[in-house]
């Protein structure tokens, strides 16, 4: 079940999606020693920005048919707070791939977002200096201040951004692609041309909910979410994720982290069958905090049942 990813050796292919698991809060909430037996093979931080952010005004959540719209707004302590307070607590975690197995290290992948190339550069440079960070993930689902369009939605802009920060770090550089674009494979190619070591997808799909008729709308408008629109995740997006991961994996040579509505080992296997090297679990962890470990176990069972497929797809 071990897997190599951009030079990192992981206990298995299942990691968390950025912003879907707060390892520090979870370590306090649960009686089990999460630092010793983490449910994921690598830990992806929530998005870190240069300055602290409080996040969006509530309400922040809306349940849909087999899914969830969130409008959280990337609350975080800012780069300085993350590096000083959170990163030391995230470093040194281990995971136990099967009961009784040797604990394996859980590398930290830090996800960062800027609103300009300059901000991205500052974030990447600061992370490069920290040995506890094994890899970086760029959140490019952020509007260009001049055009208002998501930087990650335009292949050329994305390529230029990645090229600008590529030289600032020797750590693996992952680009988290936005699905809210006309041609996600072209964006993936742009990221690769710019020097990305891997791409991850899908991020949430832009979505909206109106306040129920009997409820006063929170902000005086009928949109339920404080941020008006949000991002859809959960089983509702799984078929979209499969199509986008397949399109991207067919276009680029770099490894792909696939995610979107994964609830089981069979779902993870599907994303790997269309070309994902790793699979991230997000919304399912909300229902079941140990979902990552369960899905890794189920994936291992499917690999044992079909050795010919597993050798190819767990490469």
């Amino acid at each position: 079940m071990s897997v190599s990813f951009c030079g990192l050796e992981l206990a298995h292919p299942i990691i968390n999606g950025s912003g879907t698991f707060d390892a520090i809060a979870a370590a306090r909430a649960f009686a089990d020693d999460l630092r010793e037996a983490f449910p994921f093979a690598a830990y992806v931080s929530k998005t870190i920005t240069l300055e602290p952010r409080a996040g969006n005004a509530p309400p922040r959540l809306w349940e849909t048919a087999a899914g969830l719209i969130n409008s959280i707004g990337l609350p975080n302590k800012g780069l300085e707070g993350y590096l000083a307070e959170d990163l030391p607590q995230l470093a040194g975690m281990t995971t136990v791939p099967q009961p009784g197995a040797e604990p394996r290290p859980v590398p930290v992948i830090t996800n960062v977002m800027g609103s300009t190339t300059h901000e991205f550069s500052a974030l990447v440079e600061a992370c490069e200096a920290r040995s506890e960070i094994a890899a970086l993930e760029l959140n490019v689902s952020c509007p260009n201040v001049k055009t208002g369009l998501d930087i990650g939605a335009d292949p050329l802009q994305l390529e230029q951004l990645v090229r600008a920060v590529r030289g600032l770090t020797r750590k693996p550089l992952i680009v988290k692609l936005t699905p809210n674009t006309a041609d996600v494979a072209a964006c993936a190619q742009g990221a690769q041309e710019g020097g990305a070591d891997a791409v991850s997808l899908i991020n949430t799909l832009r979505a909206m909910a109106l306040a129920p008729a009997e409820r006063e709308a929170p902000g005086g408008h009928r949109a339920w979410l404080g941020g008006r629109t949000g991002g859809l995740s959960g089983p509702a997006v799984r078929a979209v994720a499969l199509a986008q991961v397949a399109a991207v994996a067919a276009r680029v040579a770099v490894p792909v982290i696939g995610m979107g509505g994964v609830q089981s080992g069979a779902h993870a296997r599907e994303l790997m069958d269309v070309g994902a090297t790793l699979v991230a679990v997000g919304t399912e962890s909300f229902r079941e905090p140990a979902a990552g470990a369960r899905i890794a176990r189920e994936l291992g069972d499917t690999a044992r049942a079909e050795p010919a497929i597993s050798e190819e797809s767990v490469r």
Partner: protein, 266 residues
């Protein structure tokens, strides 16, 4: 603070009792940690979770523990949306997933100070387990919409009731009763849980009277353990608190106001 195992547990409903327009669902949880008053659990039926109104529910639902009797945890349910509806259908012998106990509960009053428990509607639940553990008798003030809901007051001992329509007890708001009690005993400590409007009333009265108040808040919540950042309420002085890990019981002094739009019908 009791802490939950990381793995959610598949448990069996040992019985369901009707209490006015509410249900008390009793769940046998032999291996689970003892919940503390004010803590909650995330619940989901093990079968047919989904496929209701709007093809929901999908996420688990947060419920305060209303009572602990031996290995049984009790939850108070009102059918307000697809999740609470499906849980309300559960019968003895059927199973559900439980993650918990979660969150920070109530802190007991210091010796000699009288506790005033203020509850509204289905929010009376955590006050029952609190009353079970208090060493001194507390004053219990409970508000409901109407007579049928007011039958829920039987969950606690010696409750003084108010109803919106005057069909049972005081005709008016439970906060009217609270204001009188605080006038009589300004050294009391207040514990409250209920709808946002009631909690805001409690908060404002206690602020004016400089009475300490612990508020058990409700919020739309995806996970219950700090992962989703969805269940926030504005914190006094700026920023937000996560109801699931910073609460659900939050000192009223930490809040400027109780947000009236904490969640959608679930």
């Amino acid at each position: 603070m009791s802490r939950a195992p990381l793995h959610r547990r598949l448990l069996t409903v040992s019985g369901v009792d009707r209490l006015g327009s509410y249900l008390v669902v009793r769940v046998d949880d032999p291996g689970g940690p003892q919940p503390e008053p004010g803590q909650f659990a995330m619940l989901a039926a093990s079968e047919r979770w989904g496929g209701g109104e709007d093809e929901r529910p999908y996420l688990s639902r947060a419920f305060s523990v209303a009572r602990r009797r031996g290995s049984e945890s009790h939850f108070l349910l009102e059918d307000v949306g697809p999740g609470s509806r499906r849980l309300s259908e559960l019968r003895a012998g059927e199973r559900l997933w439980m993650l918990g106990p979660l969150g920070r509960g109530f802190t007991a009053p210091s010796a000699g100070r009288r506790a005033i428990l203020v509850g509204g509607g289905v929010g009376i639940a955590p006050l029952a387990i609190l009353q079970d553990t208090l060493e001194q008798d507390a004053t219990v003030l409970l508000g409901f919409r109407d007579r049928e809901r007011a039958e829920g007051a039987a969950l606690l001992d010696a409750a003084i009731v108010a109803t919106d329509d005057g069909s049972s007890g005081h005709h008016g708001l439970v906060t009217d009763l609270l204001a009188q009690e605080i006038e009589r005993d300004p050294a009391a400590v207040v514990y409250a849980c209920g709808p946002a409007g009631m909690l805001e009333g409690v908060r404002a009265i206690c602020e004016v009277g400089a009475v300490p108040a612990q508020l058990a808040l409700e919020a739309g919540m995806a996970c219950g353990f700090g992962a989703c950042f969805g269940c926030v309420v504005p914190r006094r002085g700026g920023g937000y608190l996560r109801v699931c890990v910073d609460g659900p019981v939050i000192d009223a002094a930490e809040l400027d106001h109780v947000d009236a739009h904490a969640g959608a019908p679930a």
